[in-house]
Symmetry: C2
Subunit: 250 residues, 2 copies
Amino acid sequence: MVSTAHCDTCSLHPLCLPLGLSENDLSKLEKIIRRGRPIQKGEHLFRQGEPFQGIFAVRTGTLKTYTLTNDGEEQITGFHLASELIGLSNFDSDIYNSSAKALETTNVCEIPLDRLDELAGELPALRRHLLRTMGKEIRGDQQMMLLLSKKSAEERIGSFLLNLASRFKRRGFSDKTFRLSMSRADMANYLGLAVETVSRVFTRFQKQGLIDITGNAKEIAIIDQQSLWDLAALSESERSELNLINIEQR
Amino acid sequence: MVSTAHCDTCSLHPLCLPLGLSENDLSKLEKIIRRGRPIQKGEHLFRQGEPFQGIFAVRTGTLKTYTLTNDGEEQITGFHLASELIGLSNFDSDIYNSSAKALETTNVCEIPLDRLDELAGELPALRRHLLRTMGKEIRGDQQMMLLLSKKSAEERIGSFLLNLASRFKRRGFSDKTFRLSMSRADMANYLGLAVETVSRVFTRFQKQGLIDITGNAKEIAIIDQQSLWDLAALSESERSELNLINIEQR
DNA sequence: CGTAGACTTGACGCCTCTCAACGTTAGTGG
DNA sequence: CCACTAACGTTGAGAGGCGTCAAGTCTACG
C-alpha cells in the first residue's frame, strides 16, 4: 500500500521538489518519499487539527485546501494541481491548520516532516528550493489579496481562468481547453463572490465570445484569450480613464 | 555607518530571528547581521526591482511593504512592526518583488542572503525558525484573504485594530492605546476599502463608544475591546441569524 | 425514471464606491 | 509668531455592483 517513490522516472520531475537536485541527492530524497493509495473525490488528505506529519506533492488529480472560519464556514485557500506542494504553511505548528480535500481521484507523494528537516540540512539545493517555493506561495497569496481587494467580479474570474490556463500549459496540457474540477460554489468561495455572480459572469463571457462552456458546465474553452487578458489586467485602468483626477491624487 | 549587531542585548531577542538559538549559534548569527543608519519617514528600505540581497528585521519603527499593480497603483501587502522579518517572499527571485517604505523613523538589521543560506545549513534551529516564520506569513496572508473575501467594512477595520493591538501587546506596549503610524489611505488600501469608508467606520465606532480617537487622528484608544471582538468575528453570524436557511445550505 | 444536488436566471435592495465640498493638521517661509 | 498651503481627514449625496432571495433548469446517480 505504501511504496517508495521513483522521482527519476516521474514526469513531474522538472516541476516538483527534485528540481535542481543532483542524481546523488535525488536518491536520498526518494528514500524518504512515500506514495499511498489514491484518494477518491471528496476524501480528505488531511483535516484541520490533525497532527502535522508531513507535506505532500500532488502527482495526479486536484485538491482544494481550506480553513474553517469562526462561523464554521469554509474558506478555500487554494486549488492544487499536479506537482504542487501542499502543507507548507504548517511549519509553525504541530497540527494542520487547514484541510485538504480531493476534487477528483488524486495521487500524492508524502514527504515526512522529520526526514525532510534532516535532509534540508544536508542538501543546500533542497533547502533553497523549499524557501523558494514558500516565497512563491507568499507572493501568490499577495496577488490573491490584490485580486480580492481591488478587482471586480469579471476581473476576478478572468484572472482565475487565465491562471488555471497557464498552470495547465506548464504541465503540458492545453491552455485553451480544460476541465474545471471545482464546483461553481468552490470558485465563488475562493474568489470572494456569490455563486450566482460566478454563474452570471460565465454566461456573460460566453455571450461575448470570450469562452465556451459545454454541457455539464465543467469543460471550458478559452476562445479569446487576448480579450480575457485585457479584461483581467486592465479594466481597472479602463474604468480609471473616466476619472483620471482621482487616480492621480493617490 | 555600518556596525555588527548585538542580538544578545537587544530587547527583541525573544521575538526576533535569534529565537531558539544557543549562545554559540547566536554569536555566529550576530556576525553576519548588519545595522545601517536609520531610515527616515517616507524613505525606502528597498524598491521593487532592485537586486535581492538580504532580508531585514525591524528594530524600531514601522514599515509598509507594497507592490505595484499593472495600472501603476500601489497595493499594500503588510505593515511591519519591531522584530518582524521583511523580504521573505523574495526567495524565489533575484530581485525584490515589492517595495518597503518607512512610515516613521525606523531602524533595521540586515541579514545578507548568501551568509544566511550558509548558516541555515549549519544551524537546524535557524533553519526551522525560518520555515516557521514563512509558514506564519502564509497563514497570515490567508487570514487576510478571508477578511477581504468575506468580511464587511466594519469587520475588516475591527479585525485590523485588534490585530495591531495584539501585536503591540506582544512587544510590551499597551494594547489599549497606541499610535496608528499609517495614513487612512494606507489602511484603506490594505483593507480593500475606500478612504471615505474607513473614515466613516471610525466615526461610527467612536459614536458607539468602541474606540476613541484624539486630535490628530493618529492616536487611538480601544475602549470596548470585547464588543470589537464580537463585531470582528461574529457579525457574519449575526447577519446570518436573519437568514438561517441560507447558511445551512452551504 | 425519479430525486438530489449543481447550475442558471431574474427581481430587488443594500453596502460601499465615487464625486464633491469642507474642516484640520503640519510644515514652510516671511 | 503668524499666514499660507498642501496633504490629510471628515462628511454628505447619489449611484451602481454584487449579494440575497426565489424559482426554474439541468445533470448525475441510484
